[in-house]
Amino acid sequence: MNIIGESLGTFLARQTVQAATPLIMAGLGELLAEVTGVINIGIEGLMLMGCIAGYAAAGISGSGGVGLGAAILVGMGTAAVFAGVTVWAAADQIVAGAAVNILAVGASGLAWFFYQNAREAAHRSVSLGRHVGFQSEAIPGLSRIPFFGPMLFDQYMLFYAAIILAVLIWLLLHHTRTGAILRALGDAPEACQAAGISVRTWRTGAVLFAGACAGAAGAYLSIMRTHAFASDMTGGQGFVVLSLVIFGRWTIPGLIAGCLLFGGINSLQQTLQTTRYTSHSTLMHALQYIPFEFFQMLPYVVALLALATLSRSSPGPRYLGQAWRQ
């Protein structure tokens, strides 16, 4: 690991944001869907679909942009299946989400197999070429600010997109009629219906948006931060997203804070693993005695504690997880 040239703190800060980016992206979509009353525990599966779609499309086309676009489309397509089952057929969202997860494991495995076979048959390399996929993009000037520069302005393009999206969604939710509709969908769908707003159509829109976000977050894992695919590469991050949306009390600042906290803990933990015998910092040295699994566990425990201590003040959208029958 290359820590030369920047301090450990700066390195950790950048790693934190890098680890938090897919969570923010997928979290924004899931937050919007949950605000409208749809909880999708299949977000993990959607991300996995985004991973493989992004990787395969980038590999075949040779373009990272095409990969990202494909990941978004596949994420939306899978979410459309989920929306059909939960929003339109009014089936149980939890069970459908679990089914999407299982389906995604199978479909991504099959797709990966097809992709490998196709590449080998065409005598092409399975792995991505050197310049396929995304590199981090430093914003000239700003990225030179000490500490905050590398942390906020030397990131992958999806981070910038996620931040802009976060601001837009916040504005949308709290300052527009659309936002009032979205919030009412999860709080009092009957009020929306009485106003002639199609609850199902709007919820479908929110679920599709969440699918697009999760797909993009998946692509981030396979063609941005790393340029590889593995069948377990989401590693539970979809579930992390679910817990962070709850942790953030269904607010955007709360979500982002949660994502950064998780990213921070995660990058610290990874750094500890890789620098186990090289660090000279006393604090880092002391932390090394704690099994790193406890750091991995920390975000879930924190989310649980957050729920246990704060839950009565804001229990979340009232109709979360409940289908709307017209």
């Binding site: 949308l172 300052h175 527009t176 009629r177 659309t178 009032a180 509709i181 919030r183 009412a184 709080d187 009092a188 009957e190 009020a191 929306c192 219906q193 009485a194 106003a195 002639g196 707003i197 959208p317 009232r318």
Partner: protein, 503 residues
């Protein structure tokens, strides 16, 4: 001018509306009276485009209109305030109204919109703050927001579907002038109710529906109250046949002595129950009157043990109940809860399962530790027959029964096996006249068998009709009355917290 012409509607063989015609003048308050199932709501749903009539048409200012959907109704200037509000509690008043009547999606001209709401509220002399969160408003205020919503949408004709059912008497008193002031601004108000007294105070004209047919339409005051009731019900009220008991009551069964209850952690606030003294003897019905929210549900909760008391003693047949575990304590009482569907029945389960919820522990219904299926079915069939529960079979999920039959099933379960102590709270809420009479008869029959009955009821007439003694609950206190020596007006004053001289 709104006119309904020869409208008919049938639901699967049941004629909900039969050839109904009615004309409503602009700027008037038209009352529509009828008991549950008379077709009032169906008629209004047709006006508002929720249901299409089988026959007949609607004319607005002479022009025939087809109200295909609520949206069309709104465009025609017909607004409706439902009994269950269509508001989002988490949103502010402004957001709720923007959601309902706004046009654009992205830009919300918040300040201008907010001012429109405030101006409208001011012109009606209503105190409605556009920035307050709807969930924090009381029911009466939420109703105002609903009315403003209908008006902002360009409503010229306003349908109020049983607006007083959810209000306290004080709020009803505030609603009446508010509606009158609406009518003065040229709005036509259609007021649906089954309470004669309210219609009397509010309306210019009335129409009476009975079993889907219009039996009277004319100006208020043309008929006497008795005549209207006669037409509404078709038969003399069943209430008069239920008298107070002549038998002398027996021993004290349930006794509450100096019972106080405060919410845990809120000691500084006034207690939910304050120094309650109450005894219910075998063979009597003790009625507790009062405006809802004065501690009635708390009283039931502390007797059943689901809320702890902070001081005092509750005894049953002389023994202190505080030694019993809550679930054993609940088994001592038959209880007809207020919220039938939420607290009384498991809607997704069969009628049999619901009927057996009390007696399943009884050894005759188990065999070798397992459920005795045939005994269960036989018991359910027996109850269905003796309580006249109309159903397609005992295995039908109870959610498919009508409200009256659900309540019959609940009463069959709770009153089976002659329970010695019965607690009932608003047992006739939402029931039509026939089912109401049935419920009250069952309670008097239980008294005749020697049961001690504690009846908490917000309908004063029904309460006075069957109670042997009446007490009034006000602000967590229980005030004795000298019923039947005093008149109901005196009890009414006590319910409002006016300290009695004569009572």
């Amino acid at each position: 001018m709104l006119s309904i012409e020869n409208v008919s509607k049938a639901f699967g063989g049941v004629q909900a509306l039969n050839n109904v015609s009615l004309a409503v003048a602009p700027g008037s308050v038209q009352g529509i009276l009828g008991e549950n199932g008379a077709g009032k709501t169906t008629l209004m749903n047709i006006l508002f485009g929720l249901i299409r009539p089988d026959r007949g048409q609607i004319r607005l200012n002479g022009q025939a209109v087809v109200v295909r959907s609520p949206r069309v109704a709104q465009r025609l200037g017909i607004g409706m305030v439902h009994q269950h509000f269509k508001l989002s509690p988490a949103l502010s008043v402004t957001d709720n109204l923007a959601l309902a009547v706004g046009r654009n999606f992205v830009l919300l001209h918040r300040a201008a919109f907010r001012d429109r709401i405030a101006a409208l509220a001011r012109s009606l002399h209503w105190a409605v703050d556009p920035d307050s969160v709807v969930g924090q408003l009381n029911v009466g205020q939420q109703q105002r927001v609903e009315i403003i919503k209908a008006l902002l949408g360009g409503g010229k004709i306003l349908i109020l579907d049983e607006p007083t059912a959810v209000l306290t008497p004080q709020e009803v008193d505030e609603l009446i002038p508010a509606v009158r002031s609406l009518a003065r601004t040229g709005i036509t108000v259609i007021f649906i109710s089954h309470k004669l007294s309210e219609v009397n105070r509010m309306c210019d004209r009335i129409a009476v529906l009975r079993r889907g047919e219009l039996v009277f339409a004319g100006p208020m005051g043309e008929l006497s109250a008795e005549d209207i009731a006669q037409r509404m019900l078709g038969a003399p009220s069943a209430l008069s046949s239920l008298g107070a008991s002549s038998a002398s009551p027996g021993l004290v069964r349930l006794h509450l002595s100096r019972v106080c209850c405060t919410l845990p952690g809120t000691r500084k606030y006034k207690p939910l129950l304050n120094n309650i003294e109450l005894s219910v003897r075998a063979g009597e019905i003790v009625g507790i009157a009062g405006v809802e929210g004065n501690g009635q549900t708390t009283l039931i909760d502390v007797i059943m043990g689901s809320l702890p008391i902070s001081s005092g003693v509750i005894t049953l047949d002389g023994s202190d109940l505080s030694h019993l575990a809550n679930f054993r304590r609940a088994r001592q009482f038959a209880c007809i809860p207020e919220d039938r569907q939420g607290q009384g029945l498991v809607l997704s389960l069969s009628l049999t399962a619901n009927l057996m919820l009390r007696s399943y522990r009884n050894p005759e219904f188990t065999r070798l530790g397992l459920r005795h299926v045939t005994a269960w079915r036989a018991q359910a069939t027996k109850l269905v027959r003796s309580f006249d529960i109309r159903c397609a079979g005992v295995e039908v999920p109870i959610q498919f029964l009508s409200g009256g039959n659900q309540q019959k099933a609940l009463i069959a379960r709770e009153l089976y096996g002659n329970p010695p102590v019965i607690l009932a709270i608003n047992p006739t809420r939402g029931l039509d006249i026939g089912a109401t009479a049935f419920v009250l008869q069952q309670l008097t029959a239980a008294r005749q068998r020697g049961a001690a009955v504690l009846l908490i009821h917000s309908d004063l007439d029904e309460l006075l009709a069957i109670s042997d003694r009446v007490m009034v609950m006000y602000a967590g206190q229980l005030l004795p009355t000298k019923w039947p020596v005093v008149d109901r007006a005196a009890i009414g004053r006590m319910m409002m917290g006016i300290t009695p001289q004569a009572a």
